[in-house]
């Protein structure tokens, strides 16, 4: 009862926050914008946003407590945990079902709302009151669902003696952090959206809006990026098909808003620098937010299997209404304020940073559009003709490989071309060294992989990676010469002085490395082998010695563990321990995949079957080249993103100085 009561209280606070934030303002007809006239009322609205967060956190704590204390009178607890569930999976079982996920969304949004409203700057920024109204409104939607039709605190009439436990596929460390990260990214798009709505209402879509929005767009960009990578890691280590990305609709749903917000992070810079693309930026943020809602909705609504199951799902129709309000409201507001957004200055030369950013925006949004069409095509065709027409992974791979290559090239040129106007000659000069480095990278990759396609991709990715590094080194050298600093000091000085630019470069470097890893998927090989303990077999230049099969039981499962010694000739270089476990509560076998990762290739072994009498075992073995570089690149990109986010915060209070690195570049 207490849990639901807290949700009710949160609803009351959110309602109050929205109403108070509106009443604290007055429309100033002379200035044609809204002014805060009752600051004390605004302060209380801001505090109410904090109170919403406390209430939702309290409700969440109650659900967690019920999960940990195995209170099976809650149907949600009975469905997602069992007495034998280990603590960390009990923790993550919070979001293993629809009701808990919804509460998690409400919790994440309330944290965003509280942080946004209670920041020190929130009292001053003109966008805050209306943005709070939007955030409170969105929060009300989730809270109303959790309070009413999708209640995580529903009780069972007959209390079971034990719960069913968590789905064994979710028994993965990735599941502890992947869903919250993904939701932090998807839900986080609500904040830039709220800022867009507020900026439009206030007729303030200028540079100040861009500056405030940047941080709030970077947070979901980073969180969603981490969520996507962790989802890939989870699929790779748990699902056992040997890959990390399958163009599954759920993956696509999270990928689309990421593409659009990435586009925005670039085009926002154009507006900040040159004042162009104001309509486009407003549109991009609205689009990203709508796609994020659509993504959250797609994962939970049942829309994926068919439009018909969607109608039956309890959550689907509500989300549809929410999405419709968001899309129609956002676009309607944009059209209404169009006269205020017009009057942009002309875009200049085609050989300029802004031109590269504009093209990259078209490509990013084009990619998102293609992924969207590919994802919802079955639904469209089902509505039109009654039969579903689906697009498979070959479609997505074919479209997005050249698009990815184009984006890498644009990022390369965008790095070396100046704002306003550059010359082709200067660009070629600056790309000369990177081109040679990229050639070396491509040759190394070719020597290891013996594949021209992979080497070709490595060249394009290497070009971006090398350009990034060369530019950082060049700027650091110029700085060290000019200021008489040592190279490391000059380098770290660069990052401290301009974290946005150099953080962005590091993200580019990480992405370039990831792309080399993606290309490795071309060289995948796999096999299936049946062997008995004592047998030896060879696959992909590796000799596997099946040493023994261990069979034992733990409280919730029976375990089969195969020990495989790995040899090159007679040299033993490792051991792999794939498992095949039988979870009693789930009545199904579950493999624990064994992976030996090296920079060159992963050996990926699945114990697919064990004959209980003869101990004959079936192994499925994949050799996946270069996967290591995907994870390494992701870590580098993450560090870069963090730099761009946190490094920029310290300097925000100061007036924007002329960028020191620009001056230095002129000297270099």
């Amino acid at each position: 009862m207490l849990g639901r009561g807290l949700l009710g209280l949160a609803i009351a606070f959110a309602l109050y926050a929205a109403v108070a934030a509106i009443c604290a303002q007055r429309y100033d007809h002379a200035k044609r914008t809204w002014e805060v006239v009752r600051p004390e009322l605004l302060t209380s609205a801001r505090r109410a946003m904090g109170a919403v967060c406390l209430c939702v956190a309290g409700a969440s704590a109650i659900l967690w407590y019920a999960l940990f204390s195995r209170d099976f009178s809650y149907s949600y607890v009975a469905l997602s945990t069992a007495r034998g569930t280990v603590p960390w999976y009990t923790f993550s079982s919070f979001w293993s079902g629809m009701q808990g996920s919804l509460l998690l969304w409400a919790l994440i949004l309330s944290v965003y709302g509280a942080v946004f409203s209670l920041r020190r700057n929130a009292a001053r920024e003109p966008f805050v009151p209306w943005a709070m109204v939007v955030l409170a409104g969105a929060e009300l939607f989730y809270l109303a669902l959790a309070f009413g039709p999708i209640n995580p605190f529903a009780r069972l009439d007959i209390i079971p003696s034990d719960g069913r436990g968590l789905n064994p596929l979710l028994h993965s460390p990735g599941m502890l952090i992947h869903p919250p990260m993904l939701y932090t990214g998807l839900i986080g798009m609500t904040v830039p959206f709220a800022l867009v709505v507020s900026a439009l209402i206030n007729r303030r879509t200028g540079t100040e809006w861009i500056r405030v929005t940047r941080v709030w767009a970077l947070v979901p960009f980073i969180a969603l990026g981490i969520g996507l990578v962790l989802g890939g890691a989870w699929a790779y280590t748990e699902l056992g098909w040997g890959g990390y990305w399958g163009w599954d609709p759920v993956e696509n749903a999270a990928f689309m808003p990421w593409l659009v917000i990435t586009a925005y992070l670039h085009s926002g810079m154009v507006q900040e620098r040159r004042g162009n693309l104001r309509i486009w930026n407003v549109f991009l943020v609205t689009l990203a937010a709508c796609l994020a809602t659509f993504g959250a909705f797609l994962t939970r609504s049942g829309l994926l299997s068919s439009v018909h199951t969607f109608a039956e799902s309890p959550i689907g129709k509500w989300f549809f209404v929410f999405l419709a309000i968001q899309a129609i409201g956002g676009i309607g507001l944009l059209v209404w304020r169009l006269p205020d957004l017009r009057g942009e200055s002309e875009l200049g030369s085609a050989v300029s940073k802004e031109a590269m950013f504009l093209i990259n925006n078209l490509v990013f949004v084009g990619a998102a559009a293609i992924v969207l069409i590919g994802t919802i095509l079955p639904l469209i065709t089902e509505v039109i003709s009654g039969q579903q027409l689906q697009l498979g992974p070959p479609f997505f791979n074919r479209v997005l490989s050249p698009i990815g290559a184009a984006l890498l090239l644009l990022a390369t040129i965008g790095t070396v071309v100046p704002w306003r106007r550059g010359t082709v000659r200067r660009i070629t000069q600056r790309l000369l060294t990177p081109a040679l480095v990229a050639l070396a990278v491509a040759l190394v990759v070719y020597a290891v992989m013996h594949r021209t396609t992979i080497a070709g991709v490595a060249y394009v990715a290497g070009l971006l990676g090398a350009t990034t590094i060369v530019e950082i080194v060049r700027a650091a050298r110029a700085r060290s010469r000019l200021a008489g600093l040592s190279m490391p000091a000059a380098g770290s000085g660069l990052f401290a002085r301009n974290p946005r630019r150099y953080g962005g470069y590091v993200v580019h470097l990480g992405v370039a490395i990831m792309v080399i890893g993606f290309a490795g998927s071309i060289g995948r090989v796999q096999t299936e082998i049946s062997a008995k303990p004592g047998d030896t077999f060879t696959f992909a230049d590796t000799t596997f010695h099946y040493e023994k099969l261990e069979q034992y039981s733990v409280p919730d499962k029976d375990i089969n563990l195969a020990l495989l010694g790995l040899y090159h000739g007679t040299h033993r270089f490792g051991t792999l321990r794939p498992q095949l476990n039988f979870h009693r509560n789930w009545d199904q076998p579950q493999s624990e995949i064994a992976i030996r990762m090296t920079p060159r290739a992963d050996l990926y072994v699945i114990l697919a079957g064990v004959d209980s009498q003869t101990s004959a075992s079936i192994f499925r073995i994949h050799r996946n080249p270069l996967v290591f570089w995907v994870w390494l690149g992701a870590v580098i990109a993450f560090i870069g993103g963090l730099f761009a986010l946190l490094g920029g915060r310290r300097r925000r209070a100061q007036p924007t100085p002329t960028e020191p690195s620009q001056e230095l570049e002129a000297v270099a």
Binding site: A78, L79, S96, G97, M98, P160, D162, R164, N167, L169, L170, L239, G240, W241, G246, D248, V250, T299, R300, G302, E346, L347, A350, L358, I359, L362, V363, G366, A367, A369, I370, I373, Q387, Q388, L389, Q390, L391, G392, P394, F395, F396, R398, V399, P402, I403, Q526, T527, E528, S530, N585, W586, D587, Q588, P589, S591, I593, A608, G609, I618, R620
Partner: protein, 141 residues
């Protein structure tokens, strides 16, 4: 400062450039749709039973997996939607998560009611369970 004279051709050039990029992306998408194996008609086993699909069409069929028989380099199984079945023959390794009682998707050409699959996928619907599934599990434990 730009004069009205230079503005017009510049705007035209930009519009032309933007249209080219957009058209390029569109053309790419169409080329990819036409590539083999990209497009498939989704059918349920019952729809296949009612109306035999053209053997030339790329069909994707989904259902519950039954009678899964794995061998070295091949797998045979039945996909069922409760009322009708489709037999699936596949050369290659089916994913580990494909088991009797799970949901599976096969893609290929259907001749004489049997699918020669070119691709087999396990549907990881267990990632996010539906309420109904969850209830039936409680009942059995």
């Amino acid at each position: 400062m730009q004069t009205a004279n230079t503005k017009k051709p510049q705007r035209l050039r930009w519009s032309l450039g933007i249209s080219l990029v957009v058209a390029g992306i569109g053309a790419l998408a169409f080329w990819a749709v036409a590539s083999p194996g990209a497009l498939a008609y989704y059918r349920s086993p019952s729809q296949i039973a009612q109306q035999r699909p053209d053997p030339m069409q790329n069909i994707r069929v989904g259902g519950r997996v039954r009678d899964l028989e794995r061998g070295a380099g091949y797998a045979n199984f039945t996909l069922t939607d409760g009322t009708n079945n489709v037999a699936v023959r596949y050369r290659g390794e089916v994913p580990d998560t494909l088991k009797d009682g799970t949901d599976g998707i096969a893609e290929g050409h259907v001749t004489g009611g049997t699918m020669q699959a070119t691709q087999v996928q396990a549907k990881c619907s267990s990632k996010f369970m539906t309420k109904k599934d969850a209830k039936s599990h409680i009942g059995s434990s």
